[in-house]
């Protein structure tokens, strides 16, 4: 049994949190959906940048046409990556195994989130040739590019937290995907007339205003412009924390049912 005896003590080292985190990460390396995610993300990010974003034709040394399409890529790809997070555990019965291990619900939620976020982060990091190209062809403001990457990563995290939370509501991955897509879309365009006008038509100016402050797109664009405002960063951190907390509560409440 080579796999067992050849293992170093480090491989077994860990805690409930570390165990779940590593298992999730391992899952991304061996499931096709995760590979599809990275391949499609990389191909689409490149294609959108050059064709839709007119990367060369603009004649500017920045990555704006690259980052501009990230919200739309994430909108489809992150719910697709995250839909199985809890739905699959519920369908296959492994949720019972997981929740009877000596691990707290929030630890399981966070471990799954961090593993998926790290995976998305790796896919994002693999777009570095884009930056190399700009850096080679011109003299971009690398600070702005770094901010763009940070904003993109944070936005992916927000989509991921929303999608993970909604995945716990159902055994069906398809339902989890559609729910996550709809809610992510709503938050992405919360400041857009598409969402705002129906609310204003209903006469709820307050709700419309409050929702407009929650627009993922606006906060992402603010960071991607290279302006690192504490408010924008806090927005993403709080959004992620909020959805992970709701996720934990739903998981705990299911035990009572």
């Amino acid at each position: 049994m080579p796999g067992m005896t050849a293992g170093t003590p480090m491989e077994l080292h860990g805690s409930p949190f570390g165990g779940v985190f590593l298992r999730e990460l391992r899952g991304y390396l061996i499931t096709p959906v995760a590979w599809l995610f990275s391949v499609i993300f990389l191909l689409a990010a490149g294609a959108f940048t050059f064709y839709l974003g007119a990367f060369f034709e603009r004649g500017q040394a920045d990555l704006d046409p690259f980052f501009r399409f990230h919200p739309w890529l994430y909108l489809v790809l992150v719910p697709a990556l995250a839909m199985r997070l809890w739905a699959e555990e519920r369908r296959s019965g492994t949720l019972e195994l997981l929740m009877t291990l000596p691990i707290r619900a929030w630890q399981a939620v966070l471990a799954k989130f961090l593993a998926a976020w790290l995976y998305i982060g790796c896919a994002l990091a693999l777009t570095f040739p884009m930056w190399l190209t700009v850096d080679y062809l011109g003299h971009p403001d690398n600070g702005v590019i770094l901010a763009g990457y940070l904003g993109s990563f944070l936005m992916a995290g927000a989509f991921l937290a929303i999608s993970e939370c909604l995945s716990v509501l159902t055994r069906s991955q398809v339902i989890a995907f559609i729910l996550a897509l709809a809610v992510c879309f709503l938050f992405l365009l919360a400041g857009d007339p598409l969402v705002q006008q129906p609310l204003l038509a209903l006469g709820s100016v307050r709700v419309a205003d409050a929702l407009s402050d929650l627009s993922l797109l606006a906060h992402f664009q603010a960071i991607a412009r290279g302006v690192l405002d504490l408010g924008d960063l806090a927005y993403f951190v709080l959004t992620i924390a909020f959805w992970l907390a709701v996720n934990t509560l739903i998981l705990a409440a299911r035990r009572g049912g």
Binding site: G3, P9, E11, G14, V20, S92, R255
Partner: protein, 312 residues
């Protein structure tokens, strides 16, 4: 030690488990029996911390499952219903995951893993993806996960479901071997398993505890307890005479195999009287035995009565 006190769980108006008080001490293997929907799995899920009790309390090794969930879960090994596991992982990866989560690290952890792999004979499939395994292997993989951290308390929901008779015997031996200093609860639909692996029985029906005791005590509740059964080609007259014995309650002939069973009146011993009468009548007896009692019959009676009570 596994204990429940007045444990209850409701789904809407339906009592899945009601007023259940059980105590399983180290050295005891309790067979949890009952028809489907009797509350066995719900009880086990509450003990394992997967479901919250609505009433009463449950403790594992002295730790309340609600107040000290992590301590309770650390001292418990749990095989959930259906033996779920992560199908996309290999057996080695899955067990390494379980070891990591249980904090089994370094050389002792690896020794423990190797020991479990050997005892459950998982070597041939270590590198194989779990979803490609047979049902029997999958159950043993999940069983290995439950035993890995050498828990003081064990709860196994149908541990031998899907195993062939040889594998079942091995699991029974494993359970008996672990029983010495552990408290174990095993749910099963196989009454043969009770004799093979358990030293106590609890029968649930309609969410309530109906009977509890040692297998021998339950067999004593059977009308077959201390009945005498025999097979004889021509025994019509003898049957007539047996029925007249004062200590005999009834004489029945199995319509299928012709086996004659003589039932005693409550508390009476009839073996010697039956043998004597058969000898006096010079009945040629092919085979004769003193019955211990039938768990199947007790099970049916207890759970039927429960159905009746619920319907009423």
């Amino acid at each position: 030690m596994i204990e429940t006190e007045h444990l209850g769980k409701r789904y809407g108006k339906f009592d899945a488990v009601a007023d259940l008080t059980l105590k399983v001490a180290p050295g005891q293997v309790l067979a949890l029996l009952g028809p489907n929907g009797a509350g066995k799995t719900t009880t086990m899920r509450m003990l394992a911390g997967f479901l919250m009790p609505d009433a009463g309390c449950a403790r594992v090794c002295g730790h309340d499952v609600v107040a000290e969930p992590l301590q309770a879960r650390r001292s418990l090994g749990y095989l959930p219903e259906g033996a779920p596991s992560y199908g996309e992982l290999s057996v080695a990866e899955f067990l390494a995951f379980a070891a990591r989560v249980r904090g089994l690290t370094g050389i002792p952890g690896r020794r423990r893993l190797d020991d479990m792999i050997e005892r459950l004979q998982l070597q041939p499939v270590l590198g194989q993806t779990i979803e490609t395994l047979s049902k029997g292997y999958r159950r043993r993989v999940c069983l290995a996960q439950a035993l890995l951290h050498d828990p003081r308390a064990l709860i196994l929901d149908e541990p031998t479901d899907g195993l062939d008779p040889n594998q079942q015997r091995e699991v029974h031996a494993l359970i008996r071997g672990m029983a010495r200093d552990r408290a174990i609860i095993v749910s099963t639909h196989t009454l043969g398993e009770v004799r093979a692996a358990c030293n106590r029985v609890a029968i649930l029906a309609g969410g309530r505890l109906r009977v509890e005791g040692t297998p021998a005590e339950l067999e004593r509740m059977s009308r077959y307890h201390h009945a005498v059964s025999f097979r004889a080609p021509a025994s019509a007259l003898a049957r007539e005479l047996l029925g007249r014995l004062p200590e005999v309650a009834a004489v029945e002939v199995d319509p299928v195999d012709g086996r004659v069973t003589v039932f005693p009146r409550a508390g009476q011993e009839i073996f010697h009287a039956v043998v004597k009468l058969l000898e006096e009548q010079r009945v040629r007896v092919d085979e004769l035995q003193l019955e211990r009692g039938r768990l199947e019959e007790v099970f049916r009676r207890v759970t039927d009565a429960a159905d009746l009570a619920r319907a009423a």
